[in-house]
Each structure stands twice: as C-alpha cells, then as structure tokens.
Amino acid sequence: MERLDRRLGFFSALPLAMLLAVAFLAPLLVIAVFSVMPQRVFSLFNAPDFSAYRVFFQQGYYGPLAWSLGMALVSTIVLFLISWPLAYGMAKVFGRFTLVLTVAVVMSLFVSENIRLFGWVLTLMKGGLVEGHFRALTGVGFESPLYNVPIIVFGLVYVYFPFMLFPLAQGIAMVPDDARQAAADLGASRWRVLWEIELPLAAPGIVVGCLLSFVLATGALAESKLLGGQSVIVIADEIETAFTYGQNWPLGSALSMVLILIIGALAIVAVTRIDLDTIMGRRR
C-alpha cells in the first residue's frame, strides 16, 4: 500500500512537474544565462560578461525599480488597511453575505484587468463618468485625477484587492473566538484584543496576503501604462522596452534577473510559510 501510494504519487505529479520544468524553471534559467551575455548576441554560447549589470547601475535603472518597489509597498499597506475590516466581516460577521461577496470578487477576476483599468480611465477622465456628470449638474468641472502617481497606486490596490482579501479572511478565520472572548472577559480593550490576539493569530494569512500583493504589484505593468499615462516608468516597462524596442537582450535579462531575485526571494518565503494541508482542509 505504502509503496503503491508512493509510485502513484510520483506518476500523477509527472505531467504538471514536467510542464513547470519546461515552461517555468527553464525560461528563468535562460534569463539568468542571457543576463551575463555580451550585447547583441542572440545565442547561448559565449564567455560570461557582467556588463549588463553595470549598465543597470550606471544608467539609473534603479530609479524605475525603486518606483515599482515603492508603489508596491504603499499599495500593500493600503490594501491591508482597507481589506482588514472586510476580511474580518467575511470570517466572523457576515453569514450568507460572505458567499455573495466571494462570488462578486471572484467574478471580477474573470474580467481582463485591462478592461477594468480602462473602465477607471472612462470613469475618472475629464468628461468621464464622474467629472462629466458633476459638471452637468453643477456647471463646474474639476481636474481629472488621472496620470500621476497616486492613481497608479489606486490601480494597484484595485487590481490586487482579491489577493489580499482572501488570504486575510482565511487568516482571521483561524483566530479562535474563545481566545478573543477570554481576552475581552479579562478586560482587554478592543484595540488590545486586535493587537495581542487577532494580529498574531492571523499572522499566516497576513504574511501570505501581503507578500502576494506586494510581489504581484512589483511586476505590474498595465496600471502605470493605462492609468499613469507614463508619468512614471516602472521596472516591468523598462524590461519590456529593453526586449522589444531596444533589442538589448542582455540588459533586459539583467533587469529581469534583479526583479526575479527580489520577487523569488519573497515568494519562496511566502510559499514556505503556507501549510497547504491545513489551509485546504485535510481530513486525516
């Protein structure tokens, strides 16, 4: 039985493991190799050359990287603050409404993110849904909030909302009601319960939600292009330019490598924190 289980497990994992080896791990390896190639070389057999990484520092590519990381950080903090009450409601207060909310949020994920962001452009632009109607009613218009940094952060918050909400709700659901009740009975204030009971016990969900939204927001491209109107160049944008217009593969690869290393480190931390058997409800 044991041996059969082992063999079956191995063989059933094979198709997916092969897919990921060929189409996920191998491409990452190729990027790593290309990043140490001389410029204008499109084959893999050359002496290593780290000039692309030098260019990264000399030509100020840390600027876009800093923008990406900074906006991702701010949007993660905002996301945490706005999602917490809702996740709390989903885990502890709402009954059937949790299902409604879950379905509504999941359904929004099926709409292409660029259609949703474009919808925000139509909503917020001058003469858009908000400003247009406001002007028609009052006769005074106002400047559109589009095409600057805060609106990009708003776009990130909007797009990655589900990736914070669901892990948080999962985390809060793991806080036993007894613990909160006991703390309250012993005279702890609402804030003290939050600080000393809820936050620590919901930590797994918090860590996963924050890392997930941070990582995804760092690599985001469409938000800054559609809502930000190129007011800020993000790192994903620079990578795209290096590969497409610039035809500078080593530079593009080096930029990707820097991003991949940051993201990969965080993702691995997050992934090792998740105990899937518990979260997904193993019976035995």
Binding site: P15, G127, F243, T272, L276
Partner: protein, 276 residues
C-alpha cells in the same frame, strides 16, 4: 464577543461599497459602449447600438474571438487533465516529494505574469520556436494548470481514501479504481477547475502580451487600442467579452443547479456522492 449592531451594519455597508467600487469601471465601459458619439464624453446624449453592429460585422473581431477561443479551449482541456493527476499527487497520495511538489505549484501563481511572459518569449526564441497562439497556450498553462490543480485538490482533500482501498481489496486494478471511483468523485472539482481555466485564459492579458507572436487575442487587441488612441470599438468589444464570460458562468451555475435538482428527485440510495 459578538460585534455590536452598529458595527455589523457598518461592515455590511462597507461590503456593499466594495462590490460597487469593484464593478463601477464596468458600468462606465457599459455606458461608453452604447454611446453614439465617436469621441466619448459623459453624460451621454445619444445612445445607439451602432458599435455593436459594427463589432459583430468586423472580420478583425471575428479573428480575435477565434484565436482567444482556440487558446481558451485547449488550455481548459489540458488543465483539467493535468490538474486531475496533479491534484491526486497534491492531496491524495503520500509520496516522498509531496511537500516540494506543493510548493513548486504555488510559485508560478506568485510570479508576475508580465515577467513570466517575457521569460517564455526568450525561452521560445532561444530554442528556435516562433511564437504563435500555440505558444500562448503553453504560457497560459504555466499559470492556469497550477490553479486548476489547487481547485481539484480542495475536492480531493475531502474524499475518503477508504473508498479506494475497499475497491482495491476487492481486486480492482489501479486503472479501474481511477475510472470508477476517483474520477466520478472528483468530477465537481474538475468541472469547476475547467470553468476557472476557461475564464482565466479568455480574459488573460499579461501572459498573452509577449507570447502570441503575430497572432492576437481579444484582451491584447483591446490593450493595444487603449494605449494607442481611443476607438469607439474598444468599450463595445470589451463589454462583449465580459458578457460572454458571465453568460458561461451563469450557464454553468444553471447546469449545476439543474443536475442537483434532478439528483434530489431520484429515490434515496441512488446517490453515492460523499459531498465536499
């Protein structure tokens, strides 16, 4: 420590507000799609369905829909098959590298899709594959097959391995057990995974962006038009794509509901679903 009444009301209102904000942009796109003017401005003065008629006639749109459908259908079928076996390895069998396998599956989901698309583009180029819609299928699979696996795994966690063991004790072969016990029990999960796979592939933009080569999917074309100048067709085609996915969702819900109803009408005992 139950929440007070006013806290509850505030939380409910907050939840409703979240849903409204989530769908507000689609409302704007919806209005824009029925505006008659070539240059959109709110409030809309004259409504017309002219752009819908044009979109339906346009051969470009027909091409885009065909490409997107091809990609989504193949991704769906492959994800369901790979996900079925993946989920068994993930949740059901005890084998040596199960923990590693579980974490490997999560990595692509955690990875920014734009960067993944670019990495795949380079990979295809360096092994001499010219990107077409077929390479986009591979790109979608890297992200969607793990998600399908997770969805089926939830179902796989909730089923009782004793059922399989009983069948084995009675002499059923591994293949027979898979076909007669495991597959039917996991079916609801597999269908849900297929639904997710189709819809996520249909709407996916960042992975398609770099991996379709000369072909173009619907979200990609919309993005190109959004970045380089407004076309009145953009909101129209966008809404058509969204309505298409929601129709499929509603159809799926209706079918599940009908199936469940039909099953409940059957005499007791005919139903051997363990639930989940």
């Amino acid at each position: 420590m139950p929440a007070s009444r006013s806290t509850k009301i505030a939380l409910y209102l907050y939840g409703v507000l979240a849903i409204v904000i989530l769908y507000l942009p689609l409302v704007s796109v919806g209005f824009a799609s029925v505006s008659r003017a070539r240059y959109l401005s709110f409030p809309i003065k004259r409504y017309s369905t002219e752009w819908y008629a044009r979109a339906l006639e346009s051969p470009t749109v027909a091409d885009l829909v065909t490409t997107s459908l091809k990609v989504a259908i193949i991704v769906t079928i492959v994800s369901m098959v790979i996900g079925f076996f993946g989920a068994l390895a993930f949740a059901r069998y005890h084998w040596r590298y199960r923990g590693t396998f579980q974490k490997l599956i999560l990595l692509p989901i955690f990875f920014p899709q734009t960067v993944l698309g670019l990495a795949l583009l380079m990979w295809f180029n360096s092994v001499g594959i010219i990107p077409t819609w077929k390479t986009a299928v591979v790109a979608h699979l890297v992200w969607i097959a793990p998600i399908a696996t997770l969805i089926i795994a939830i179902r796989a966690y909730s089923f009782d391995p004793a059922l399989e063991e009983a069948a084995r004790d009675m002499g059923a072969s591994t293949f027979l057990i898979l076909r007669e016990i495991t597959l039917p029990l996991l079916m609801p999960g597999i269908v849900a995974a297929g639904l997710f796979a189709f819809l996520l592939s249909w709407g996916n933009f960042p992975l398609s962006l770099f991996t379709t080569g000369a072909d173009s999917t619907l979200p990609e074309w919309l993005y190109a038009k959004m970045v380089s100048g407004y076309s009145p067709l953009v909101p129209t085609v966008g809404i058509m794509s969204v309505v298409g996915s929601f129709c499929i969702l509603i159809l799926a819900f209706a079918m599940t509901w009908l199936l469940r109803k039909a099953r409940n009408n059957r005499p007791k005992g005919a139903d051997n679903d363990t639930g989940g």
